[in-house]
Chain length 127, copies 2
């Protein structure tokens, strides 16, 4: 199964796409950042709420990922003084530049899951 | 800077998107897989060629990433017997299901790089 030759990239285009994807993954790559952003699309959340929504993330990792997301302009941290002090995280306008990337990733993830399920069914059906 | 409330997700949609992105990142996440796929969009490549194109990847990591890409149906490994034996890697048709994800990621990476450059210029211009 070869991809059609018409879909091939020339060397320059390949290098330029590699560098763009490298730049993108530098800030939004890794296991957690996009998941944290999606979790915050529901609305502003406190640290513990966020940790419950993004299943499997440790407090230490969540804290460091949030700092990186803040530095890169995706998230702001709001401190409400009072007793107890409340800290909420929320998305910036800039985070919405990621909508199309996320939409395509969600579509692809759903499509891929269905494909894997089909393959399992076929395997089970084979005597 | 808050995202518009109309862009907010309800809880169910948020959970379903989280799970789709989790499924996607499970197979194409990490630092290298998408870069290897882009590098192979130029056409089939030998291992050493691939390592030269995907700058910074070690032979050990490239080898294990290629194995995962093969298992998940994105890449095939072709062995040409002869002297010396040649091994080439190439993309499958299934890898082209990633085109839209990659296109959006490339667009976003380019946009983000320009934004970061602008910010640097502004900082330099500030006395």
């Amino acid at each position: 199964m070869k991809p059609k030759d018409s879909q091939r990239l020339d060397s320059d285009k390949c290098i330029s796409r590699l560098s763009a994807v490298e730049d993108a993954l530098y800030v939004i790559g890794g296991k957690w950042k996009l998941r944290i952003i999606i979790a915050l699309m529901e609305g502003p959340k406190r640290f513990n709420e966020l940790q419950r929504t993004v299943k499997g993330i440790s407090a230490k990792v969540l804290s460091s990922e949030l700092k990186m997301l803040e530095i890169n302009g995706f998230v702001t941290r709001e401190v409400y003084t009072g007793s107890p002090v409340a800290v909420e995280y929320q998305l910036t306008d800039y985070s919405s530049t990621l909508h199309k990337v996320l939409d395509e990733l969600v579509k692809w993830g759903n499509m891929h899951r269905e494909k894997v399920k089909e393959q399992w069914k076929e395997k089970e059906a084979t005597p």
